[in-house]
């Protein structure tokens, strides 16, 4: 199975363009975030809606809350900036997808056989998840905070970790590669979103208890409930996917390495991350742990995910090192 160099070349171009488009989108979002009044308004609006949704007595969710903003959308300049940012993000995601597909076609295998490709997949999942979140929550002006880690990851992936298109080494030739790695990548990719949301939550909480802290930035963030809900919803979705990924990893390890669990560094850190997210889910069901503490736990989980992605793959020597 020779590698199709032309397609792989197009894939690389597509990748680079996608990164450039994301950067551009980020600029638009930053403009919207810094100059737009939208942020503040959205924050106010969601707060009032949340108050109702959170169970104020004697109302139904079907009645529109009093004091809802006028339905007529005001197309301020910042607003247009934000919309263009979204359009660019979608364009970037399409290019990103194209790059993945071309890689797959060029090598005639799934496009996640080394670190470069794995990071590309993770970032793609993150961007798509964010676009879904945008449809449900008025947090468009926060997009830059999601795109920033994505662009950073993709830059590192595309430079230091770049690997030319090549066939798979024997150890990776298994249908478990398709299942296990995709589940792990989808899980990790989604986990980036609650990580960012929880970080912003902590910033916002800091600002609410002491308005002098993050005085310019804090008020533009949406309400705590919105950030908390985004973090919770995405975590609840990603957790089973990640669990499934770890489970499949164990089954694959049994077939490839002779044991289903051997405390290989990657396995160990995946276990640690899993425990942290389980603790997060519990903390949300435990009085006194919701809110700040839950957000802190989620941020730690985020750190573990990133640690697993970089440190374990690049520094430690385990069976997992893609090389």
């Amino acid at each position: 199975m020779p590698v199709n160099e032309t397609l792989s070349q197009y894939s690389d171009w597509s990748y680079t363009t996608a990164v450039a488009v994301y950067v551009l989108a980020m600029v638009f979002f930053l403009v919207e975030q810094s100059f737009g009044r939208k942020g503040k308004q959205a924050a106010a609006r969601t707060r009032s809606r949340e108050l109702v949704g959170a169970g104020a007595p004697a109302t139904t969710e079907t009645t529109p809350p009093a004091g809802a903003p006028p339905a007529r959308p005001e197309r301020t300049r910042a607003d247009r900036m934000g919309n263009m940012g979204v359009a660019l993000t979608v364009l970037g995601a399409l290019l990103h997808l194209l790059s993945l597909v071309l890689r797959g076609l060029a090598t005639d295998r799934v496009p996640w056989g080394n670190m470069y490709e794995y990071i590309a997949i993770i970032c793609f999942v993150t961007v798509v998840t964010w676009l879904v979140v945008l449809r449900k929550s008025p947090v468009r002006h926060l997009s830059a905070f999601v795109l920033l880690p994505v662009v950073m990851l993709m830059f590192i992936g595309g430079t230091w970790l770049y690997a030319i298109a090549a066939p798979l080494q024997p150890a990776l030739q298994s249908y478990w590669l398709v299942i296990h790695v995709s589940a792990a990548a989808v899980g990790s990719g989604i986990f980036l979103i609650p990580g960012v949301a929880s970080l912003l939550y902590l910033v916002k909480a800091r600002n609410e208890t002491n308005p002098a802290k993050f005085a310019r930035f804090g008020p533009k963030l949406p309400g705590l409930e919105v950030l908390d809900r985004i973090a919770y919803r995405t975590t609840v979705f990603a957790f089973p996917v990640f669990t499934f990924g770890v489970l499949c990893g164990a089954v694959w390890a049994e077939a490839a390495w002779g044991r289903f669990w051997g405390w290989d560094p990657k396995e160990t850190v995946a276990f640690i991350a899993w425990v942290i997210y389980a603790a997060y889910l519990h903390s949300r069901a435990t009085a006194g742990w919701r809110g700040n503490r839950a957000a802190v736990i989620n941020v730690i989980g985020f750190a573990a995910t990133v640690f697993n992605l970089f440190f374990v793959n690049l520094v430690t020597v385990g069976l997992h090192s893609y090389a």
């Binding site: 139904t60 089973p240 499934f244 405390w263």
Partner: protein, 538 residues
């Protein structure tokens, strides 16, 4: 425990036994609370972390020794604290054990609650439904019976009871999503199962590595008859090696396929094996062994781990006698297949031990599957076996094999060289068929090369159980995360409208017992269906 404050209770003197009991009870309560379980789980994760950061003995023993020598007292301290055997350490096991106990203690009462709640009827309808997070109300031009019948129909699949209330009102109280608890219990019990079976696995499993030639000869046969048959062996705590599953295999060939770039694409081996009844009637069955495709037989698995080369040398001694040896050399560069090793010979026909020890030979050096010479220095251009060559030093003297010290099969004992008892008598590059001649007339010929494979035998009787529990855990997780436990109440109260018209006031209330998010839409739909009848316009 408020009743300890009642006067009757105070008459009891706190005896010592009582104190001990109280202490035990409190410890037990503390240990089995959910918070403790979580803390223990966190601790387990934290305790696992050094295992990812420090070299571990069972994965890489030489690296551990290197680390300890490099880090002086710090390394020794870590060693004493078992930081290089994290997963077998006292502290890791202690956390593990406590977690197990804690989970048992917290799951038992929850299961009782669960059974009780599965039997219980949905709770009474709250007096004031408008207090509920979800609530609607309407007056319908219909009979209470009709309304209730319609509601019963609409709420099919919900667990419900109808109750008579005061003032002629009647209500339905319905609840749904009991599977959430079921899933939750599945998840937690699954986790407990995984923890227990995993621990059992650490006791009754074993794995061993063995290197055999891949040419169908005697040197390519292996029988799982005892620990001595292995090159290295990791037994579980309860495995003494006397009861290994009997089976044998013979490796007939090995083939590696490479891309033009030299990147490996496939490793495969054909072998034959026998186990169970086949051993008695000596039947051999073929198996095509590949990476990711272990041979599974009789509860044991055989894996293809690695491969390498074993150059073959024939030494012709001055008296005309010959000796041919081939032993595995180890890869020093996995991408080019360059290997190093030492093939050792005894000079035949010498009976005097002292003299014998002065005339031992070792052919040491480098082997290249695709030879490339840079000047006289041999390197390998790629891992394919296309143009094999060796660059050897022939050593003569005392190899030190009788010294009582263990010796690596890949090296000569350097201290023998340093003390002058082992001397280099030739250095040359040889291609297949070429030979070199020593000063005493002995010749060393490079005959060719054999391939070896490194195989691992694994045995773990608990692994299917672990898988079963893990799957239960995963399935339970789905239910626990995505099913919502929620309630709906419908209350109908007959009323009198204008013109003596019969009316029914219908109130619907709803409550999600877990996360509220998402219940609103479902509730709105139900309420809409129930109240959409002939709503009296007002």
């Amino acid at each position: 425990m408020t009743d300890t404050l009642t006067p009757e209770r105070e008459q009891y003197r706190p005896t010592r036994i009582r104190k001990v009991l109280a202490f035990l009870r409190n410890t037990w309560r503390g240990l089995t609370s959910m918070r403790t379980a979580l803390v223990l789980l966190f601790l387990l994760a934290l305790a696992a972390l050094p295992g990812a950061l420090l070299p571990q003995r069972d994965l890489n023993e030489p690296k551990v020794r290197e680390y300890i020598t490099q880090h002086g007292w710090w390394g020794q301290l870590l060693d004493r604290l078992q930081f290089f055997d994290v997963y077998a350490s006292v502290w890791f096991s202690a956390i593990y054990l406590l977690l197990m106990v804690s989970l048992v203690g917290c799951l038992a009462p929850r299961s009782v609650d669960y059974i009780r709640s599965m039997r219980a009827k949905p709770v009474l309808t709250p007096r004031n439904l408008s207090r509920m997070p979800h609530h609607t109300r309407a007056e319908l031009d219909a009979d209470p019976d009709e309304v209730l019948a319609a509601a019963t129909k609409r709420l099919r699949g919900w667990r419900k009871v109808e109750r008579e209330e005061k003032n002629g009102a009647r209500s339905i109280s319905a609840e749904r999503g009991y599977l959430r608890e079921t899933g939750n219990l599945f998840f937690h019990f699954g986790m407990l199962g995984v923890i227990i079976t995993f621990a059992l696995g650490a006791m009754y499993s074993y794995e061993g590595q063995v290197i055999v030639f891949a040419d169908g000869s005697d040197a390519s046969e292996f029988c799982n008859s005892g620990i001595y048959a292995y090159d290295s062996f990791n037994p579980g705590l309860r495995v003494d090696g006397t009861q290994l599953t009997p089976f044998c295999f013979r490796v007939n060939d090995f083939k590696a396929t490479y891309a033009d770039s030299g990147q490996p694409i496939a490793y495969e081996s054909n072998l034959e094996y026998q186990s169970g009844d086949d051993l008695a009637d000596n039947t051999w069955r073929p198996y095509h062994l590949e990476v990711n495709e272990p041979l599974r037989t009789d509860g044991d698995r055989v894996y293809l781990l690695d491969h390498g080369f074993a150059p073959e040398f024939t030494v012709t001694f001055p008296d005309g006698s010959t000796r041919t040896h081939s032993i595995q050399w180890r890869p020093v560069d996995n991408t080019t297949g360059l290997s190093e090793g030492a093939t050792k010979f005894e000079t035949p026909g010498i009976t005097d031990p002292v003299e014998r020890r002065e005339n031992q030979l070792a052919v040491t050096g480098l082997f290249a599957p695709t030879a490339m010479l840079q000047g006289k220095v041999l390197t390998s251009a790629g891992p394919q076996l296309t143009d094999p060559a060796v660059a050897v030093d022939v050593m003569r003297g005392d190899l030190g094999v009788d010294s009582g010290r263990g010796q690596s099969i890949f090296e000569i004992d350097q201290s023998m060289v340093d003390s002058g008892r082992l001397e280099r008598v030739a250095r040359e590059n040889l291609e297949v068929g070429q030979q070199l001649r020593l000063d005493d007339g002995t010749t060393v010929r490079f005959d060719g090369v054999n391939q070896w494979v490194s195989l691992q035998v694994s045995h773990d009787p608990t692994q299917v159980w672990v898988l079963g529990f893990a799957v239960a855990m995963f399935a339970g997780l789905g239910g626990s995360l995505f099913i919502k436990r929620r309630r709906v109440w419908v209350r109908v109260t007959p009323a009198q409208g204008a013109d003596d018209q019969r009316l029914t006031v219908v109130e619907v209330g709803g409550l999600a017992r877990t996360d509220q998010a998402g219940y609103g839409e479902e509730f709105a739909k139900i309420a809409d269906d129930l109240l959409s009848g002939d709503r009296k316009a007002r």
